[in-house]
Point group: C2
Chain length 499, copies 2
C-alpha cells in the first residue's frame, strides 16, 4: 500500500502518477518505458501514466504522488492508502491500429475508443495516433459513429422548448465574430439559444475569447441552464461545461499537434451542440482561397456530410456557404473583435458593415427556424431587433447575468503596416493575417492582434496604413515585426502615384 | 530573468519546464495549451514543453524548474539566470502534415524532421503523428531518406578494418537469441563485430535484455570501441551509445503507442548499424503465420526494400528468410533465454537443437563475408569454432571485459500449463506465447517468462506439461494465470488416450 500525495502540477489532461525509483510497492526499473497503471482505493480505479522521481523530498518510496488531473479524479485526501497494478492497454487501441491499416471502423469501435479516451486510458500520444490515422480517411458512417460516441452521457434537456437553436462557423476567416451578435438578436427575439463557444485553437481568437472580453464565460452546467431559462440566451465556454468530455481532450491534442481535420471538427461540433440540447443548428461554411475551405466543391462535400450526420441524429441543420475571401470586420484578436461587435450592437455609424450584414443574414436564417415566421422575413425581423436596440439590451442582460470580465486592454505596443504603393486593395490573405496576429500574441493575449484599416476594394495611397499590429509584450512584438515585412498579407494593385 | 531549479523527474525523453502560475517573467494564462518554449542562457537554446505549477514550494514565481532531461541538456548549475521565449513550431511539422495528407516527402524534408526530433523540438505527440502518418505509406526512396537522416553525425570508424560485420533479426519469434551465439563465433573467428542490441520493445526480451543477464551492456562509445578493437567483439545496448539519437526517441514513442511498422524498423536498424560503422550486415527475416512477417511474399518485398537502401548507402547486406513458424529454443524471457544460449555455447547435450542449428547457419553466412572463405565453408567453420570451445572462450572474454551482471534469478512463481489431450504438438502460436510471457512479466522482469518443454512435432500425453510460466511478482502471476486458460497458444492434434 502506498500513501497518497498531491503534486500540484497541471499536465494538459493527462493523469500522471509519480513514484520514487525505489518505490516500496512497485519495481520501477525501466524509466524509458511509459507505463500505464491502475490506482485502486477510490470509488473507481483511476488510470495514470507513471513518472519516476529520484528525490525522496518530492516523493517518498512509500508514497504515490498524483498530479492535479489524477488527484481530482481519485477524490481522496492526502495520506489515503492506495494500491496499484499494471494496466493493460485498452482493447480499443487494436481498433486504432486497424484504422492505421486503412480499415473502416464500426460504430461499436468508435464507441469503445471514445469511452476509453473519456476514462483517460489513452495517453495524448494514443489520441494523436487515433486522430492522424482517422484524419486521413473517414467514411460518412464513421463520422456519424464518432459524433454519436462523442455526445456522451450528459445531454441537456430544455423542457417544453420545441426549438432550441445555435450557430457555429467552421472558421478560417479572421475577425468573423457574428456569433455574439446573432446570440443577442436571437435571444431578444425569444428563441432559446444556449450558445456553447470554444477558445482559440489555431486562430487569433475563438468566440469564447472574444466574449471573455465582455463577460465571464466560465460558467457551469447549472448556471448555464438557469441563465438560458431566465434570459433565453447565455454564452458558455464549453470547457467549463460537463458535456462531451472526450471532445475536449481531442481538441487539446488537435491543438498541440496542429491537426484540424474537417471530419473531426464536424463530429466534435455536432456532438457538443447535441449534448447542449440544440435541436436546430445553423452551420456557416466560409469559402475562400485562403480560408479553411478553399472551394465551393469542397464546401458542398462537407455540407452533404454534415446534413447526413444531422439527419441520422435528428438534428435540424441549415448549412450556409458564405464568402470567406477576406477577414470580416476590422479587428482581429479578442479585444479588437469585441470592439467591432459592440459597435454593431450599439448601431454605431463606424460599425463594420460586412460584420453587420453577415450577422443579420445568419440571424435571419436562425429566426426562420421558427414556424411562425414566413420564409424571407428573418432578415428584416433581425434588422428591426438590432436597430431598435433590443439586441444591445439582450447582450447587456447576458453580461450582467454572467458577471463582469476583467476588461483587458488592447496591446500597447503598436506598429502601422503601410502600403508601399498607391492603388486598390485587391486581396487580403486570411491565413497570413491570422499568422501575423498569432505571432503578435493573439490567441494567447486578448489585447494582441491586428486592426485592419483597409479592406478589399478600398483605395490606398503610398505610405497609408493598411493595418496596425498590437502586441502586449516585447517578445511577441519583436517577432511579429521581424516576419511581417516578408509578406504583409495584402495585395495592392499598384497605379502611378499621379494617377 | 528566472532562476534555474532542478526538479528530479524523468519524463520519457521529453524536456519539460515548470513555471509557477504567477510566473514573474511569462504569462501562464492558459494551462489547457501545451506551450513550447525556448530557454536561453546555456550554450545553445534548449527547447522544452511548459508545465504549470500552483505551489510555490515546488517552483517559485521567480524560478524555472527543469526535469532531468532538460536539466541535463542545459548543463548549468541551479540558480543560473535564464530567460525564456515562446518557441514557434519547427517548420518541418508542415512536412508531417504533408505526409498526413498522403504526399511523398523529399530527402530534405526527412532530414529536417529528424534534425528537429534530435533537437527535441517535437513533442512525443508530434513524433507519434509523424510515425502514424508515414507508417501508412512510405516509398522506397523515402525509407532511404529516413535512414540517411537517422544515421546522424556520429559515425564509428574502424581503422584498417575492411570488413566490419553484424547481424540483426527482424523479430516476432519468441526465444530467438541467435545473436549472442553468432557474436561469440564470429568474434572468435576474428571478424570485428561491434554488436549493437536493443531492449525489448514489445517482446519478452530484446538481445540487450538477454545479454544483460550475462554481462553489463550499458557501455559508452569509448569503451565499446576499445573492447571491439581488443577482443574483436563486444555487445552494447545502443541506448547507451551516442549514435542515432533520433532513432531512440522514435523507438520510445513506437513502444508507447504500440506501433511497429517495418519501414520504420528497417530504417532505424540500418541507421544504427551504419552509425556503428558496420560494412557487412546479415539480416534475418523469420516468416511464419504468427510471426511478425506472415508470408514469403511479404518477406520478399521487405528484402528488396532493405537491399535497395543498403545498395544506395554502400552497405553490403545479406538478407536471409528463415522459418519463423514456432519459437526458437525453450526459454522465452531474458534469464531463460540466457540459459539456452549458454547451453549451446557450452556444447551441452540438452542444448536446444533449433537454436544451435540456426546460430551455426547464420554465423556461417557472416563468416562468408570474409573473401578468404570459400562459398559453403562458413557453416563448418562456425561449427568447429563452437564445438572446440573457442566460442565459449570468446563469450567469457566479452563477459569479463564488460563486467559482471547482477545475475537475476528465474521467476520463483511458477505454474505448469498441461495438455488436456494426448497427441502431437501441431503448432505453437508465436504471438500468443509472446503475449502470455509479457503478461507474466517478461520484458519488465528478466526472470519472468515461459519455459517451453514441448515443441512442434513432440508427442504429449494428457496431463503432461507443455510449458511452465515464471513470474517475479504476484500481480503479474495472477494476471497471466487469469488469461492463459482462454488460449494456451498450443495446438495439439488429439488422439484417443488409449491409442
Amino acid at each position: 500500500m502506498l500513501s497518497l500525495k498531491h503534486l500540484p502540477l497541471s499536465s494538459f489532461n493527462e493523469n500522471l502518477a509519480y513514484l520514487h525509483k525505489d518505490c516500496a510497492a512497485y519495481k520501477v526499473d525501466d524509466i524509458s518505458t511509459l507505463t500505464k497503471i491502475e490506482i485502486h482505493g477510490g470509488v473507481k480505479p483511476v488510470y495514470a501514466f507513471l513518472q519516476v522521481v529520484d528525490d525522496a523530498k518530492l516523493v517518498k518510496p512509500t508514497e504515490i504522488a498524483l498530479n492535479n488531473e489524477a488527484f481530482k479524479q481519485i477524490n481522496l485526501p492526502e495520506g489515503a492508502n492506495l494500491s496499484i497494478s499494471l494496466s493493460t492497454p485498452p482493447p480499443s487501441l487494436a481498433s486504432v491500429k486497424r484504422k492505421i491499416a486503412g480499415n473502416i471502423l464500426s460504430s461499436g469501435e468508435y464507441s469503445s475508443i471514445i469511452n476509453d479516451i473519456t476514462a483517460k486510458r489513452y495517453s495524448n500520444m494514443d489520441i494523436a495516433s487515433f486522430l492522424v490515422a482517422s484524419g486521413s480517411f473517414m467514411s460518412a458512417p464513421e463520422v456519424l459513429s464518432m459524433t454519436e460516441a462523442l455526445v456522451g452521457d450528459n445531454v441537456f434537456h430544455w423542457d417544453n422548448e420545441g426549438i432550441v437553436v445555435d450557430h457555429h462557423c467552421l472558421g478560417g476567416v479572421p475577425g468573423n465574430k457574428t456569433d455574439i451578435i446573432i446570440t443577442a438578436i436571437v435571444g431578444a427575439y425569444g428563441l432559446p439559444i444556449p450558445k456553447t463557444a470554444s477558445r482559440s485553437l489555431t486562430s487569433c481568437a475563438g468566440v469564447a475569447d472574444t466574449m471573455s472580453v465582455l463577460t465571464n464565460v466560465d460558467i457551469d452546467d447549472k448556471t448555464f441552464k438557469k441563465l438560458v431559462k431566465e434570459n433565453r440566451a447565455a454564452v458558455a465556454c464549453y470547457d467549463g461545461l460537463n458535456i462531451a468530455a472526450a471532445s475536449k481532450m481531442i481538441s487539446s491534442v488537435e491543438r498541440q499537434i496542429g491537426l484540424t481535420q474537417q471530419e473531426h471538427i464536424t463530429s466534435s461540433i455536432l456532438a457538443i451542440k447535441l449534448a447542449a440540447g440544440v435541436t436546430h443548428l445553423l452551420l456557416d461554411i466560409p469559402v475562400g482561397p485562403k480560408s479553411r475551405i478553399k472551394s465551393t466543391n469542397e464546401a458542398m462535400r462537407l455540407r452533404k456530410l454534415i446534413e447526413y450526420v444531422g439527419d441520422m441524429l435528428s438534428m435540424e441543420i441549415d448549412v450556409v456557404i458564405t464568402d470567406g475571401s477576406e477577414p470580416i470586420g476590422n479587428g482581429v484578436g479578442a479585444v479588437l473583435e469585441a470592439r467591432d461587435v459592440m459597435k454593431v450592437l450599439r448601431n454605431k455609424e463606424d460599425a463594420p458593415q460586412d460584420l453587420l450584414e453577415k450577422s443579420l443574414f445568419l440571424a435571419g436564417r436562425i429566426l426562420e427556424f421558427d414556424p411562425k415566421l414566413r420564409g424571407g422575413q428573418g432578415y428584416l425581423v433581425a434588422k428591426e431587433i438590432l436597430t431598435s436596440g433590443r439586441a444591445l439590451e439582450m447582450i447587456n442582460k447576458i453580461i450582467h447575468a454572467q458577471g463582469k470580465a476583467p476588461q483587458p486592454q488592447v496591446g500597447h505596443l503598436t506598429r502601422d503596416i503601410v502600403s508601399n504603393v498607391s492603388g486598390v486593395v485587391e486581396a487580403i490573405d486570411n491565413s497570413r493575417i491570422n499568422k501575423i496576429g498569432v505571432w503578435a500574441g493573439a490567441g494567447q493575449y486578448p489585447g494582441a492582434g491586428l486592426d485592419l484599416l483597409k479592406k478589399v476594394g478600398d483605395t490606398v495611397e503610398q505610405g497609408e496604413t493598411l493595418y496596425r499590429i498590437h502586441s502586449c509584450n516585447s517578445t511577441d512584438f519583436a517577432y511579429a515585426n521581424s516576419v511581417v515585412d516578408g509578406y504583409t498579407g495584402y495585395e495592392i494593385s499598384g497605379r502611378p502615384s499621379n494617377y
